[in-house]
Structure formats: C-alpha cells, structure tokens
C-alpha cells in the first residue's frame, strides 16, 4: 500500500465523516433556520387569499403579548381558536390560573368574537370580565390567567 493511497484514504475518510455531520445538520435544518421559505409555503396560500381576502381593518394575527408564551403568533384563518390548558387547544397554556377549556375566539361577519367557555378565573377584555361573546377590537388585550393576547393586522 503506497503512501499516496493511504493519504488519500485518510483524507477521504475525514471528508466522509464531515459529510455525515453536514447531512445530519441538513436533516434538522428546519429546526435551526426556521421552516423552508421556498415552494411549500406560498403556493397553497395564494389562491386561498384571493378567495377570502381579509378586508382592511380586519385582524390577521393573534399575538401573545404577555405571560410565559410571550411572542407566540397564530395566523388567523376562518377556523375558531381555542385557548386553555387542554393539550388539543390551539393555544395551549401551562398556567395554573387557566381552565382546560378556557376561552374561544371565532370570526363572525368579519369580526372576531371572544367567548368564555365557563372558566374558573374568567376572561378579561381589557379591564372588564366578559360574560357573553364579545367582539374584540384590534390591539385590545385579552387576559387569561397570566397570558395576554392581542389581535393585530
């Protein structure tokens, strides 16, 4: 076995070793750099948006502005959003002050309505405790336990 062959084997082995590491990072790329922006995302939303284009002044996002989940953003679609400790809620709260099915947000005639689902500690729109389904204006905080959420454009 000549020196040169051994050198080449050595270098090739190290290269393959690193290729493995790079391949491993490639598998978890979505974790490290966020979801792939190409192909998948824009295509399905394009026709959907033209079909039911949100009008001006309608909220498009729900943002958690306070509490342990601060910074979470949920895009609003036509689907209702459930909030609570139950693991199947849209927004799962790990908060002793929240009930398992605490509140629900749903769209109605272009407005988003918040409804308390019989929670123990109540749902507050700004400073007032809500007792019946109430429309939520843009940027007004909804308080559930330690969590504060807002609708934004």
């Amino acid at each position: 076995m000549s020196e040169l062959t051994l050198l080449l084997i050595r270098l090739a082995f190290l290269a393959v070793l690193w290729f493995f590491v790079i391949a491993a990072v490639g598998v978890i790329r979505t974790d490290l750099f966020g979801a792939r922006p190409a192909s998948a995302a824009p295509k399905p939303t394009q026709p959907a948006r033209s079909a039911s284009k949100p009008k001006r002044g309608e909220p498009r996002q729900m943002i958690v502005t306070g509490g342990p989940l601060q910074g979470t953003v949920i895009n609003l679609t036509d689907a209702p959003i459930t909030i609570g400790r139950a693991p199947d809620s849209t927004l799962v709260l790990a908060d002793d002050y929240a009930s398992s099915r605490h509140a629900r947000l749903y769209p109605q005639n272009g407005q988003w309505i918040v409804e308390d689902l019989g929670s123990t500690n109540g749902t507050y729109l700004d400073r007032t405790k809500i007792t019946r389904p109430t429309p939520v204006p843009l940027g007004v905080p909804i308080r559930i336990g330690k969590t504060v959420i807002e609708l934004r454009k």
Partner: protein, 459 residues
Amino acid sequence: MSADAASAVPMTPKRRGAQLFMLAFAIGIIMAAYASVGLGMNGQVPAGMLTYGLGLGGLMLVAYLVLAKFAPWADPLILPLVTLVNGIGLVMIYRIENAPYENGASATQQITWTALGIVMFTVTLLVLRDHRVLQRFTYTAGALGVVLLLLPLLPFIGVELNGARIWINVGFSVQPGEFAKLALVVFFAGYLVAKRNVLALVGRRLLFIDLPRARDLGPVLVVWGISVGILVLQKDLGTSLLLFGGFISMLYIATGRTAWVLIGLLLFVGGAFVAGQIFSHVGDRFEVWLDPGNNEFYTRAAGGSYQLMEGLFGLGSGGILGTGLGQGHPYRIPLAFSDFIFPAVGEELGLTGLMALLMCYALIVERGLRTALAARDPFSKLLAGGLSFILAWQVFIIIGGVTNLIPLTGLVTPFMSQGGSALLANWILIALLVRMSDAARRPPPQAIQDEGLTQVMQR
C-alpha cells in the same frame, strides 16, 4: 377544518426515510473505518470487517424497527448519531487491540456489550410506554440511586481498581454509579417539579443577582454532601463532579435563577479545594493539571502525569489531519481503550476527526434539549433537559480532562470507551430521550368535528 388545524398546529414529519438513510450512512462510515484500519496496519482489508460491520448494521436495523414500531414520532437523528459514535469507538478499540503487545482492549467484548445495549434500549422502549410513569417513582429512584452509589463501599462485593472504589464484583464487574446517574436524574426531575416554586423564591438582591432564601439551601447542601462523600470515600472525582453539575443545571432549568449556578460553583470549588488540601489523590490531580510536563510528575508512579502526557503527545503527533487509521501508536497511552480513547482517536483522525465527533455529541445533546423545549409537561422538560445536560457534561469533563483543560477525572467517554456498565446505562439514557421525543413530537389529537361543546377526538 382539518386543513386549518394543520396550519395552526403544524404536523411534525416523521422523517423515517431520513433516519434510515443516516443510519445506513453511519454503518457505511464504520465499515470504511474498519477497512481503513486494516489497510493502514498491514495493507489489507481486515477479515473481520464484514462480520463486525454487518453485525452492527443488523443490530441497528433492529433498533430502527423497534423505534419505527414503538416510538414512530421520535427524533430521526438521535439513533444514527449514537450509532456513529459507538461504531467509531468500536473501531478504535479494535485498532488498539491489534497492538504489538497485550493491553486489555477487546473489540469482541465491546460489540457484545453494544448488542446488550441495544437490547436494553429495546426493553426500555417496550416497558416504558409513557415516561411520565417515572414521576411516580421519584423517591424510589432517589433511594435506588443512593444505594447504587453506596454499593461499591460494601465489603466483599466492592472492588478497588485503578485507585477508585467504584466497581462491584458479582461474578462480573459492574460500575453501579453509571446506573445511579440515571436514577438520580429521574429523582432530581421529579423532586424539582414539586419544589421548584419554593426554590425560585427570591430572598435578597445582591448586585445583579437574586439570592435565594437561606432556608432553601437544604437540597443543594445535601447533594453537595453526597458528591463530596463520593469524592472522599470512593476517590471518584468524575462521578462527583458529574452528579453535582447535573443537579445544579437541573435546578437552573427548573427555577431560572442564575444564583443557584453561582452558589453551586462556589460550593464545588470550595469543596474540591479543601479536599485537594486534605486528600492526596485529589491534590495530585491539581498538581498534575497545573504542570503536567514537570519531570517529577511524569515519572511519579501513582498519580503522575505519564498517562496524560502520553495522551497529549498522541494528540500532538496527530495534528490537524491525523496519522491515519492504523498508522499511529495510540496503544502507547495507558488505558487508551477506555478513559483515554479520545486522544487515541485524536492521534489517528486528527483535530478534523475529533471536531466531527464532537459535532456528533453536540447534535445528540441539541436533539435532547430540543426535546426538552418541545415537551409538554414540566417533568418531561426537566428529565429531557437533565439527561441531555448530563451527557454533554460527561463529554466535557472527560475530554476537558484528557486535553488538560480541567484537572483529569476518570470518567468514560459516552458510547466510545470500552466498558459494559457505561454503555448499557447510556443506551438506556438514549431510550429515555427517544421516548420523550416521541411524546413531544407526536401531533395533538385532531378534532373530527368543530361544532358544539363536546368534541370528538381522534388519536
């Protein structure tokens, strides 16, 4: 509804294909490494390559199938990465075994232990369908951990080897401390879930740091006492540091208070300093760490720097690209197949190879911490965080030790060093991580209909 729910709660892809590909890739690298060792040593592909390679490949295929059946949502990367690290360790042990003189390395033994490790991995996954069951055994696990730690101190079954009393002999040698590590992490997780609110209370504020209340120092002092006990009675610096570091990190994960980390560091440094003054085996390590090249230490028979220096020489002669597999002299380092396997790999694969290995460890730990982030209940978060941290911490302690970054403490390099107990314990650790990652990545149950207060769920 289903489309909307999918956009609100993204479905995690299972990535089964990627996992199988990475696994095959890892096995391929290991077989190439075998071939390379043979070519480097005597110019021909070793006869055992196919047996070892396909044996390991078969084992991993079993592990893959178990995973696909019983933890289908588990992280796709953990198994391939562990396979690679374990396999490189095997190849290195095989290489050291083929030295001009007898040195205690045995690749056959190690592959048997690897097979048993896979069996333990499978059994853990089969028995433990829901890891939260462990929370019920919090105090049992704690007691078990302490008993396991104390076993080597018993007369008759306890054995002192290489200056540390950490083995027991029950027909064959077992290092119960390796399993104690797992039991104690389970205990810490369960205990901290229950008490973290109290431990997070702020007593007084000093400069930038919120100090905890003095009366909450109890648990830290108890764990500190235990680890100092290990240090003194068993002369095992590594396990002592491992346990205490693990507890402090979990305390930090549970409470988010930097003060605990500082208190832990101060306690440990203080304890180690005093121990270094009083007990010679600890003091020797410090002397050697500060001046390993000193001829007096190099020639000292017990507690000298000969082994450390041989390791450093090995790393030095390896350089950036290494001498090539089968072409260095890694067997010159005493215990190159166990504690000092890292410098042995460093000599033959060089800095480039070592960095790739470290990246593999880092990725395993990253997957573990990611599991902790994604986990839904505090117990899983703490357990996953604690297990991943303890793995990372162990790699740091031993690699820091053999590269003379910190005083050398005898610990095994996870998955690489020859030794059954450590390999089995670490495979169980990986099974626990995989189980939790399966639970964390499993999509939430989807509602079949969206009207009304009663919801019909599909699991």
